[in-house]
């Protein structure tokens, strides 16, 4: 129940302003109704009490407006009480209005329905009931006291003649209809809004639970990556030693050997280097995935591209590939993790060089985009088959046209995508098999 109340008061705080607006509208409506009644229908309504009531409503509405504005920080705790006081004041003002415009002879008494529906939705159950009974009591008192002649009757001149307020049957039937309508609508509204609130609360609880479960999953995934990282690290270092030792033998430092041994040893080296690269990729992906926070700094993209180019161009050595970097000087600095963004460029460029044949082209193009930069790494290489496009960023996936011909782990692009998305960016690719590929990504300037 407490949480139900707090849910309501949260909603109430939002609705208080709305109620204040509604009250201004009501004042306008009363004035228009008055003018229509007197000018169009030639009815006679005493103007002074009416305008005093309007001024009173306007005055307390203005006060509430100021109150909400000044207390906007802690309005939540008070919202329920403020709304209840407003509702009571509204009832009193409307009852006075009804009293000065014919009492039970005024068909507008049924407009109290709107009041009771709104307050029953917004206020707790008990207060909804209280205000409904208050409406019934006040209107009942007006009817009764007028009937008994204890208070003066203020008729709408020219509307009803003959003083229906003195007709017991009329007074009784109208009051009974009025009171039952008010009470029944109040109870219906309360029961519907209670049910809705409970559902809403249940939804909130479920979504909080889901959120918690999701956080746990993310943490589990991070722990898994940490574990993979440790294992990969431990595997990598002996593999690295093996390669070092094979190289010493293979390059003849440990003495000469016949060609057959040399050939076999080269094959061993090839296989073990493939494993080494695989474990390196695994180490990279798990290291990045297990890191809790990004190591943010302001980066000059051009510098990163140059570093990445230095590193990656080895893959294209001897192929006479034409390289072009187009990165204007006025590209803004980007707040990002240096190592990770460098990895993105290295990976995309290595792929570009690896899959581009003799005499092809590889290019990097960077331009400013909305609140960020847009980078493009393109090549005139073998491209990506259409059917592989949707899976190209999936872990361990390798394109049908490269699986057998070149070595790779299928982890690189998955990690690239992960990094870009972790930086709140987006990556996509356009490609045509045989013609080349263009990888494009956007990165926001600030994280």
């Amino acid at each position: 129940m407490n949480s139900l109340l707090s849910l309501r008061s949260e909603e109430l705080a939002d609705r208080l302003k709305w109620l204040i607006h509604l009250r201004w509208t009501t004042i306008a409506f009363i004035i228009i109704a008055y003018l229509t009644a007197t000018l169009v229908f030639d009815l006679i309504i005493e103007p002074i009490p009416l305008f005093i009531i309007i001024i009173v409503i306007a005055a307390y509405n203005a006060l509430f407006y100021l109150y909400v504005k000044l207390k906007s920080d802690n309005i939540k705790e008070m919202a329920g009480d403020v709304a209840f006081i407003q509702s009571i004041l509204d009832i009193a003002a409307l009852a006075l209005f009804i009293y000065f415009t014919g009492g039970l002879e005024n068909p507008f008494i049924f407009y109290f329905i709107f009041h009771t529906i709104i307050t029953s939705i917004l206020l707790p159950k008990e207060r909804g009931v209280i205000q409904a009974f208050l409406i019934c009591i006040l209107i009942g008192l007006i009817g009764l006291l007028e009937y008994k002649g204890l208070i003066a009757h203020h008729p709408i001149g020219g509307f009803i003649t003959g003083g229906l307020y003195k007709n017991l049957t009329y007074v009784f039937v109208v009051y009974f209809t009025f009171a039952s309508t008010i009470l029944i609508s109040t109870f219906i509204t309360i029961s519907i809004s209670e049910r809705l609130s409970r559902k809403e609360l249940e939804l909130k609880r479920v979504s909080r639970e889901l959120e918690g479960a999701n956080l746990k999953l993310i943490e589990k995934d991070r722990l898994k990556s940490e574990y993979v990282m440790m294992v990969a690290h431990d595997i990598k270092s002996p593999i690295s030693s093996i390669v070092s030792m094979i190289d010493v033998v293979l390059e003849g430092f440990a003495g000469s050997m016949d060609d057959k041994i040399k050939d076999l040893l080269s094959r061993i080296r090839q296989k073990i280097v493939a494993v080494h690269n695989y474990v390196s990729d695994l180490l990279n992906i798990s290291r990045i995935r297990s890191s809790k926070v990004l190591n943010l700094e302001r980066l000059r993209i051009r510098g990163l591209i140059d570093e990445a180019m230095d590193f990656s161009s080895a893959k294209g050595e001897g192929k006479g590939i034409e390289v072009k970097i187009d990165c204007p000087d006025d590209i803004p600095l980007v707040t990002a993790d240096r190592e990770q963004i460098r990895y993105v460029f290295i990976n995309l460029l290595e792929n570009a060089f690896k899959y581009t044949a003799q005499g092809g082209r590889v290019w990097v193009k960077v331009k400013s985009a909305d609140d960020g930069i847009e980078a493009e790494v393109g090549d005139t290489g073998i491209g990506i088959p259409q059917e592989d496009m949707p899976k190209i960023f999936t872990e361990f996936f390798r394109g049908g046209n490269v699986k057998d011909s070149t070595k790779g782990t299928g982890l690189g692009l998955a990690l690239v995508k992960y990094i870009i998305e972790r930086h709140n960016g987006k990556i996509w690719v356009t490609s045509e098999a045989g013609k080349g590929s263009v990888f494009m990504f956007v990165l926001p300037i600030e994280q």
Partner: protein, 130 residues
């Protein structure tokens, strides 16, 4: 012939590098951890030190390099650092930008090809002579 001190906790890597360097006539002395490496450096005053980063602890090599470079007796000896942490992530190894943090003269990534190792050693010694 120049004297090279190899500091690496992997005795197989040490052996492989030793064979390669000795074949080029270098005199090679070895150590298997940072502390004994530091002591060896003091005793032998090598012309060059090849130092692994990850030994007993993740940054033992870094610690040793600080110690070596802050000793007046040893600070002039060039250090070639062996890294296996990978190229893109983790520690940063850019001698140009990180010089002030890491007092080493060059880096090479494991597994290093013998020819590349020899080339780097020659370069560093040449530079040190000048």
């Amino acid at each position: 012939m120049p004297k090279v001190l190899l500091i690496d906790d992997d005795i197989d890597v040490v052996e492989a590098m030793k064979i390669a360097l000795e074949s080029k006539g270098y005199q090679v002395i070895t150590a298997n951890d940072g502390d004994s490496g530091y002591e060896k450096a003091f005793e032998e005053t090598p012309d060059l030190i090849i130092l692994d980063v990850v030994m007993k602890t993740k940054d033992e090599g870094f610690q040793t390099s600080y110690k070596l470079k802050s000793s007046p007796h040893l600070s002039k000896i060039p250090i070639l650092m062996l890294t296996s942490v990978g190229r893109e992530t983790g520690f940063r190894f850019n001698p140009e930008t990180d010089e002030e943090y890491l007092p080493v003269d060059d880096f090479v990534e494991k597994p290093v090809r013998p020819k590349e190792l020899i080339h780097k050693v020659e370069q560093l010694l040449k530079k040190a002579k000048k």
